[in-house]
């Protein structure tokens, strides 16, 4: 079933799957009308989708190295685009992004620009050339282009650090959603999440991950869009929210002026006992903060996210799976297309959910109403009981002011269907979507780390004579070990110490961006230069992070470069060191130069062709 013809049948297979999923949603809606409890619906949604992924994972099992590492290099452009989009959009994108915009408004939206613009760099600087190279992993390129085990090892180290920072957050998200939907403790939810993740990737490696990610993309995009369209139409805001919410955005500006944007002092927040991690709205939704520093903060954040995108191995390795070089280029475009569908919707979701809370003329509005009446609302009670929302009557007037309503960012997306009074089936759908988003990213990341360790460290450095069976055994064992390590850390709930998802981007850009692009675009780059660049970039970036992060040394940020932006320091140091050391050391030999020339030609055999 999964050979030859399978690729031609993809549109039919996934078309049927999408239809089946929609039928499932309708069945659940009918069941809800018939009296099925909210809890059962939640369980069915998560269980049903996870089972489908597991079946796809099982059907895609393989004993071939090529299929395990690069899905046999036969993934068509559009499907690779969908898989990349699922790989890319994490639990954070799905659950936290609209929440971020809800609280941060325009300022936060630098992330939107940053997390999309990076694909321009991927498409024009890297993807087609790495595809031509024919490598299995990103360190494979570094190791072969620059030569030597040390360069390869450094690349693996940067990759592991960046990806591992990212993966714990994803496993954490699967745990949160699984625990909420299935009604089990968080610590157990994390392990349930991990098992689901491994079911998708264990047997079939990249091939299995590819086909489950396509399925996960379909679930997550449906789950994201349905509530937005539903809410917008229900409230009469516009049939097509993306084009028609201008009045609502303007209305938010009026309401902000009416209620006032007040930033609570830390002392006030503490004295009222607001639980940690909860925020109130204090920044304008569409207003741009004045001044050069504000503009620089916006731009520098976007820069870090873009350059980080182009250095994150779990994304780059998706383009190794296309059948050709031009397919790799097109595939980047499709990836961003599918990502853009969700990213351009996030501001609309934030607008809708913010307005329905803030506008006192809407039935759902709570700001400006009596606190006692607000406290009687079901969803307010449910979320405040879980310490995910909080009311603090600072001025003690008994009326809920804008700065007195606190919420956790993640809750914005999860609670919106309930707040809007949509049927519970939508909440179940959103939970399944969040689970799909977190699982697909976790799968991509765990696979990236495990593949780098099994291919680059074990096969290329430790035991080059290992046979196929042994290599795949090692790869699969590492998958379990890394997943378990991630789940263990996630279950200890110290993710707040591990820091933000943004760090993964900064780590990756500090160590990998310039060694990767200069490897293609600058023939004079030498092994010593690359090694020195990777080490210096990663070390300086990490040192700056420790210097500036409030929970470590907490020094004032230099030029506004705070802990979310430390990659600027790391990548700059990496570039300078790499260029200087390259120029000081002997030019690469003619074989290397010939290899670089060959990489730049978009036809013919791959460079590594037979060496695997």
């Amino acid at each position: 079933m999964f050979k030859g013809k399978f690729v031609d049948n993809l549109p039919k297979i996934y078309g049927t799957y999408t239809g089946g999923f929609l039928v499932f949603i309708i069945l659940m809606a009918i069941a809800e009308q018939a009296g099925m409890t909210a809890k059962t619906i939640g369980i069915l949604f998560v269980a049903f989708t996870v089972c489908i992924y597991a079946i796809i994972g099982y059907l895609s099992r393989t004993v071939q190295v090529d299929a395990y590492y690069v899905a046999g290099r036969q993934v068509p452009t559009v499907f690779n685009g969908m898989a990349t989009a699922a790989d890319w959009m994490s639990g954070a994108s799905f659950v936290a992004m609209a929440g971020g915009i809800y609280f941060g408004g325009y300022t936060y939206m630098a992330f939107l620009v940053g997390w999309t613009g990076g694909y321009v760099l991927v498409a024009s600087l890297l993807a087609p050339y790495l595809r031509k190279f024919g490598c299995y992993t990103v360190p494979d390129f570094i190791g072969t282009r620059y030569g030597g085990n040390l360069a390869r090892f450094c690349a693996v180290a940067v990759l592991s650090l960046a990806s591992f920072t990212y993966v714990t957050a994803q496993i954490n998200a699967t745990g949160t959603i699984a625990s909420r939907a299935l009604g089990i403790p968080f610590e157990l939810g994390v392990w349930v999440g991990l098992v689901s993740i491994l079911l998708c990737s264990m047997l079939g490696g990249m091939r299995a991950v590819t086909w489950t990610q396509v399925a996960q993309y379909i679930v997550l995009i449906i789950a994201y869009l349905i509530p937005i369209f539903w809410m917008s139409n229900k409230n009469g805001f516009g049939v097509f929210p993306h084009l028609m919410l201008a009045d609502e955005v303007a209305r938010l500006g009026e309401l902000e002026a009416q209620f006032g944007l007040v930033k609570n002092t830390a002392a006030d927040i503490k004295s009222m006992g607001v639980p940690g991690g909860l925020k109130s709205i204090a920044l304008p939704h569409s207003g741009v903060p004045e001044g050069g520093m504000a503009a620089w903060k916006f731009i520098s954040l976007a820069l870090c996210m873009m350059v980080g995108t182009a250095s994150l191995p779990h994304i780059l390795m998706r383009y190794f799976t296309t059948p050709s070089i031009r397919a790799a280029r097109k595939s980047v475009a499709w990836s961003l297309f599918f990502i853009a569908i969700l990213y351009t919707s996030a501001p609309m979701l934030a607008t809708l959910s913010k307005l329905q809370l803030m506008d006192p003329t809407l039935a759902t509005g709570i700001i400006g109403k009596d606190i006692s009446a607000v406290m009687a609302i079901d969803w307010v009670q449910a979320w405040t009981a879980q310490k995910q929302a909080f009311i603090a009557d600072f001025n003690q007037d008994g009326i809920l002011q804008l700065n007195e309503w606190f919420m956790r960012g993640d809750v914005v997306v999860l609670s919106t269907p309930e707040v809007a009074g949509l049927p519970y089936v939508i909440s179940g759908l959103v939970a399944a979507g969040g689970m799909a988003a977190a699982m697909s990213t976790a799968d991509g990341l765990i696979l990236a780390i495990a593949n780098a360790l099994s291919h680059d460290i074990y096969y290329k450095i430790i035991d080059p004579k290992a046979d196929v069976r042994k290599r795949l055994l090692v790869a699969r064992s590492l998958l379990i070990v890394i997943g378990a390590a991630g789940a263990y850390i996630a279950s200890m709930r110290i993710t707040s110490i591990l820091g933000a998802v943004a760090w993964a981007f900064d780590f990756a850009m500090s160590g990998l961006f310039f060694p990767l692009i200069l490897g293609v675009w600058w023939k004079r780059a030498t092994r010593e230069g690359a090694i020195a660049g990777m080490i210096a970039g990663l070390a300086s970036g990490t040192a700056y992070l420790i210097y500036v992060y409030p929970k470590f040394m907490g020094n004032p940020a230099w030029l506004g470069i705070d802990h979310l932006r430390f990659g600027i320091i790391g990548a700059s140091v990496c570039l300078v060191v790499m260029v200087v050391v390259s120029l000081m050391t002997k030019e690469p030999d003619s074989a290397t130069k010939k290899m670089v020339d060959e990489v730049r030609v978009p036809s013919g055999k791959t460079i590594l062709g037979k060496q695997h």
Binding site: P76, Y106, V113, V120, S286, V288, A295, P323, A333, R600
Partner: protein, 86 residues
């Protein structure tokens, strides 16, 4: 200049042009965010619209455009791959 070198020159040119457009849509316009917001598009304040949708749409179109352009360059120098790739 050999065929390969000419091909690379043109590829480089396209890369630089692509990155200039990328820079304008991703950075330059946001340096003037507060004045941009006085204008509007579809009724949205312009700077808000650009980061919510505008720049993202430009990026998608830019990658499609640049991939097509690159294919033309490859064809011109005879580096096209034959086969069942799309």
């Amino acid at each position: 200049m050999s065929n390969k070198e000419k091909h690379w020159e043109k590829t480089k040119g396209l890369m630089i042009l692509t990155l200039i457009i990328w820079f304008v849509a991703g950075y330059l316009i946001f340096m003037f965010g507060s004045s941009l917001n006085n204008a509007s598009f579809l009724g949205y304040p312009l700077a808000y619209y650009m980061c919510a949708q505008g720049s993202i749409i430009i990026f998608v179109a830019l990658i499609f455009w640049s991939a097509n352009k690159q294919e033309k360059i490859d064809e011109e120098f005879g580096f096209t791959e034959r086969g069942e790739d799309d």
